[in-house]
Structure formats: structure tokens, C-alpha cells
């Protein structure tokens, strides 16, 4: 995933091609000029202080989002088509990565994290949630180490989206306080909702009577698992729950299928 930085050798004149001799690199005869990187339209800014190698990692990661899976492809196109872009940083901070809805910034805490698509997809979903929930997700964030009401709703929605995209994973109940019984029940539900991982739920709370009934059935299970998730001992995502409608989940899965062109 990490590629070498591209360095162009540019000579002011070319009599006898001094650049053919490595001894001339960096001398007046043969200047090494690092080209401006053409930033992907998803990248608004790269943080100051990033090395060329780190910039390349981020550029590669953003490129991967275009076709990593149908979900990242949809979200990437959604942002680019709506002229939405983000800041990208690699610097010390919380966990392996964060998304700030206030500054629209992704921060990865190491080069490895910035190139790890599990971490990147997680944070990318948070950006999509920020775009999908009315008023953004900043209102449900952490202030002075205290999670606002609704924080757990956002984290749980992200985990469920991730577990439906990466069928077989149980991110929501892989937390250390969760039990095998909880993981079994949750995975059985994910299996049923996604028809053995072959489809995504299509949810329409304002549709036909059948669609509304299907939505209500989904929400009943979803809220039940949300309560169980919020009650996991030691869950750092615990907060007062608002039982928010999972707007990002509905928007994403109503617009994508398991296979995409």
C-alpha cells in the first residue's frame, strides 16, 4: 500500500545530460525538484508537518476508498459529487483514528493506522454519519471527556454498518465486556437482516404498509441491541441514548447492493 515518493529529476539545460551522472544530483547542474502532489478531490488539506511518505500513505488510502467495497465507493462518490472534502492528519491522539465533525478532519495516530483500511473505513463511516444526521454528529460528540447524549447511538450505528458491510464480523459486541451469548444473538440478527450476508436491508419508514412494518421490525431489534450495547460493562462509548433513527445506515444501504459495478 505504501509506495515510494516520486521524485522528478529536472535539468535546467540538457547539453550532455548531467543528470545521467548520479554525482550531479542536487548540484546546480541537476536540481531535484519534488513535484506538487495533485490532491484527490476528497482531500481539502493535508496537515502541516507530514512527511512526503505520510502524504503518499494518505493519498493511497483515499485512492483505496474509491473501490475498497461498495460502501466506501458510494460514500466517496457521494462526498466528491457534493463537493465535500476533508482534512487529513497523522499525529498523536485518541485510539488509532478519529473523525472530528467540528473541523471535518480525519486524524490517524500512526502511519500504519492511516494505511489500515479497517480503521479508515470506520472513520469514513463516521464522516458519512456526520453528513447524514440532521445538524451533523458534532452535537453527539465528546466534550471534556464527557460523551453527550446520543454518542452511543452514533457509535452503535457505525458498528452495525461496519458489521453489515464486513459480514461475519461482530464489531459491536467484540468489546471486552460483551458475552458470547450476546455475540451469537447479534450475529444471528445480522445474518437474517442481510440474508446470509448477500444483501443490505432496504428500509422505508414512509413507504407502503409492508415497508413500514419491515422498518418497525428492524428498528425494534436494532433498539434492543443498542440497549444491550450501551449496557456492556466498561463500554467507553456508553452515554445516554436518544434512540436516534439510524439515518446514515438507512441512506447507505438503500443506495447500495453487495455487488457494485
Amino acid at each position: 500500500m505504501i509506495s515510494e515518493t516520486i521524485v522528478d529529476m529536472i535539468c535546467p539545460s540538457d547539453p550532455g545530460d548531467p543528470c545521467a551522472d548520479p554525482a550531479n544530483f542536487g548540484t546546480g547542474d541537476c536540481e531535484i525538484v519534488e513535484p506538487e502532489i495533485d490532491l484527490d478531490p476528497l482531500i481539502k488539506n493535508l496537515c502541516d508537518g507530514l512527511s512526503e511518505a505520510q502524504k503518499t500513505i494518505i493519498q493511497n488510502t483515499v485512492n483505496s476508498l474509491k473501490d475498497y467495497d461498495c460502501a466506501t465507493k458510494y460514500m466517496y462518490n457521494h462526498f466528491v459529487n457534493n463537493n465535500k472534502s476533508f482534512n487529513f492528519c497523522i499525529s498523536p491522539g485518541q485510539g488509532s483514528g478519529t473523525y472530528s465533525p467540528t473541523t471535518k478532519t480525519f486524524n490517524f495516530t500512526s502511519d500504519v493506522a492511516a494505511g489500515n483500511m479497517y480503521v479508515v473505513e470506520h472513520e469514513f463511516i463516521h464522516a458519512f454519519q456526520d453528513d447524514s444526521h440532521p445538524g451533523g454528529t458534532g452535537q453527539y460528540g465528546i466534550i471534556n471527556s464527557n460523551p453527550n447524549a446520543g454518542f452511543v447511538d452514533i457509535e452503535f450505528e457505525q458498528a452495525v454498518m461496519n458489521d453489515m458491510i464486513n459480514y461475519g464480523s461482530t464489531i459491536a459486541f467484540d468489546l471486552s465486556g460483551a458475552t458470547q451469548a450476546q455475540r451469537d444473538a447479534y450475529l444471528l440478527w445480522i445474518k437474517q437482516v442481510t440474508t446470509n450476508g448477500t444483501s443490505y436491508p432496504k428500509l422505508n419508514p414512509n413507504g407502503t404498509a409492508t415497508e413500514i412494518a419491515a422498518y418497525n421490525t428492524f428498528m425494534s431489534s436494532y433498539n434492543s441491541f443498542l440497549s444491550a450495547y450501551n449496557a456492556i460493562p466498561g463500554n467507553t462509548n456508553h452515554s445516554a441514548a436518544l434512540n436516534l433513527s439510524p439515518q446514515a445506515l438507512i441512506k447507505l444501504f438503500n443506495n447500495i447492493n453487495k455487488n457494485c459495478p
Binding site: 489500515n116 479497517y118 464480523s169 467484540d174 471486552s176 458470547q180 450475529l187 445474518k191 466498561g234
Partner: protein, 171 residues
């Protein structure tokens, strides 16, 4: 007339046998292990999950060494999936035609320990499965005896329990 009644009786009997589900909600003891069978219906479709009640069934699973560590990439978990499917097929070989007729399937979610041994397998089945708990107990015993994982990368070292995800055998 007698023949017709006999045919109708035989047909009714046969249909009810075929539609009979072998799994039922509850806790069972088999070969010294306790199994939990859970039935669940979602939008008119019924499914079962079956688990051996292990040490983390209703107890919190252990924490990773570094809670901020990177997640494990599925590509870093290696085990013989073809052999896993072959073991399942061997146990169910006698019923393979019936299983195919019934469009049966087994989905298995694996959790490994750092030494590569299997800590837990959760089994999932269609609501009309004809696979018995006795078959599942045998599959579980065989898989735990014969399947071992290896790991690459560094991330797995952070976790006591290493989940893999699903392996499916479809008839």
C-alpha cells in the same frame, strides 16, 4: 378407495417428516458438553444458532492488551477452510442428498486463541434444517481436534480472542 387413503396417509406422513425440524430452542447436554440452541424469527424467516456453552458464554470476554491497538486483518488469520468444509461434509455424508433437497446450509463463526486452537464456533442454520444436534456435536468435536490457525502480522498479539468471521457450507 383403500389404496387412495393409504397413498394420502403416506403422503401426509412423509410431508410432515420432511418438514420436521430437528432443532428446538433450549439447553442440551451431549457428549459431556452443554449446547444452547436458539430459534429466531425475523420477517417470517426462522433461523437457529447453536453454541457450545463455553467459559465466556455469559461472562465478559478478556480485554485486549492495548485497547487502542489496531484491529486484526482477516487476511492475517490462516487456516485450512477447504479442510474445514470437508470435515463438515464427512460428518453429514450419509444425509448429503437429503440436505441438498432441503437446501440446507451451515454457517460457522470461528473464534481462535493466540496458539491457533479454536476457542469457540457458533453454528447457524435455516429454520427448516434437518441437521441434528448430534451431528453438530460431532462436527464441533472434529473441527476442534483437527483445525488450527496460524497468524501473520503483529496485530493479533494484542488480542486474547481472535474472531475470524463466517465459513459457510451450502448444500
Amino acid at each position: 378407495m383403500k389404496n387412495l387413503i393409504f397413498i394420502l396417509f403416506a403422503f401426509t406422513l412423509c410431508s410432515s417428516c420432511f418438514a420436521q425440524t430437528t432443532l428446538k430452542d433450549g439447553r442440551y447436554q451431549l457428549d459431556g458438553k452443554f449446547f444452547k440452541v436458539t430459534k429466531s424469527t425475523y420477517l417470517d424467516k426462522t433461523s437457529f444458532s447453536v453454541s457450545v456453552i463455553g467459559r465466556y458464554w455469559d461472562k465478559p470476554s478478556p480485554s485486549p492488551k492495548n485497547p487502542n491497538g489496531l484491529p486484526i486483518n482477516k487476511k492475517d488469520i490462516h487456516f485450512d477452510i477447504d479442510n474445514t468444509k470437508a470435515i463438515v461434509n464427512d460428518v453429514l455424508a450419509v444425509n448429503s442428498k437429503k440436505l441438498a433437497l432441503n437446501k440446507d446450509r451451515i454457517d460457522m463463526s470461528f473464534t481462535f486463541l493466540q496458539d491457533g486452537s479454536i476457542e469457540h464456533i457458533t453454528y447457524f442454520f435455516n429454520g427448516n434444517t434437518i441437521i441434528s444436534l448430534k451431528d453438530i456435536a460431532k462436527i464441533d468435536m472434529e473441527l476442534k481436534k483437527k483445525i488450527k490457525a496460524t497468524f501473520s502480522g503483529e496485530e493479533y498479539k494484542n488480542f486474547y480472542l481472535i474472531p475470524f468471521g463466517m465459513v459457510s457450507v451450502i448444500y
